[in-house]
Symmetry: C2
Subunit: 176 residues, 2 copies
DNA sequence: GACATCACTTGCAAAATGATAGTAACTGCC
DNA sequence: GGCAGTTACTATCATTTTGCAAGTGATGTC
């Protein structure tokens, strides 16, 4: 979350991190997904210092993930609620949770995803919306688009070429 | 990426962030997914100062996402490659990319996901591995598991109760 | 009128970041 | 044999960020 000027950085991952890449931001969003919205709730829930919390909340509001809105007058008090952009961040959070559960839930699960229609525990996987196929290393790769920088295009094309070569070698292997 | 002692923090999201939550870490992983593996490649690709790069690479190795291994002797030179844990981080990256593309690709796409079997562009969605249903705000929620802290359990249960009440109210509305 | 609530701000020490420069172990070239 | 080039770093240090502790202001409650 720093000097990165966007012209030099068309990468969607870098731009996303520019919004949520600071230490507390994602934890604040996590709480927002639980329905936490008030300053003191965040403060207690996270154990964060109030000045840090104020800085991060302002940052997330500026970034467009949270909206600061008054919930009472006399005295005016504000709460912080997710915008559409913020709500759309949920898949990232769930992917992070899935990964965390897989590797760091050494004393058992602390939380998991449930389908509330029938109460079953859900294993979240990324799939192709169109075909329904799971995304895999074997079948899927990133490709440069029209807005890619030169550097990015080169990197991605190198990767694509390398993968093609590997596949060709594997096919040879199989035939032999 | 700091003082957080794990006993106080069973949340899988917090633990995940403890490993990859620092500013450069995820960008380094992004490059690793493109096949970048050498110190100077990362340095050039990211435009990062070498001391920072060394710190982050060491961090990611310690965290278990990268493996440092010699690729030549005379002189010994090391490269950094993804471990299984690192490779499993890919869905998080792709979710981040999807979100970034949706909101910040103002000059057009810089990169996108392709199914290389037929070359079609993929829209990645999180789904239930078992049923294939997409994960939605309406149908899915986080539930506390056996390893949840008291605070976390309370927060999640509050959220679940709030959602149930909202659903009940919505059902009333519909009936009327 | 003392106390509590809530959303913050201020001041400051400690820690992290990052620009610049340097090192170490080689290889290849003339 | 010497000198540039490659690669993977480390060292130094100014700047920036973090985060603890304390304070503030508007209001309502006992």
């Amino acid at each position: 979350m720093k000097k990165t000027n966007l012209d030099e950085m068309p990468c969607p991952i870098a731009r996303a991190l520019d919004r949520v890449g600071e230490w507390w931001s994602i934890l604040i969003l996590r709480d927002a997904f639980y329905g936490v919205s008030r300053f003191d709730e965040f403060e207690k829930s996270l154990g964060i210092a109030p000045n840090m919390l104020a800085r991060r909340l302002n940052g997330l509001v500026e970034a467009g993930l949270l909206e600061r809105r008054p919930y009472q007058t006399k005295p005016v008090r504000y709460e912080y609620v997710l915008t559409d952009m913020g709500r759309d961040f949920r898949p990232v959070m769930l992917a992070l949770m899935t990964w965390g559960n897989k590797y760091f839930a050494t004393e058992g699960l602390a939380m998991f995803l449930v389908d509330e229609r029938d109460g079953h525990m859900v294993d979240a996987v990324l799939t192709d919306r169109h075909t329904g196929d799971p995304i895999t290393r074997e079948n899927h790769a990133m490709y440069p688009g029209p807005a890619a920088s030169e550097r990015m295009r080169t990197r991605l094309e190198n990767n694509i070429a390398r993968r093609a070569a590997e596949r060709a070698a594997a096919a040879m292997e199989k035939r032999a």
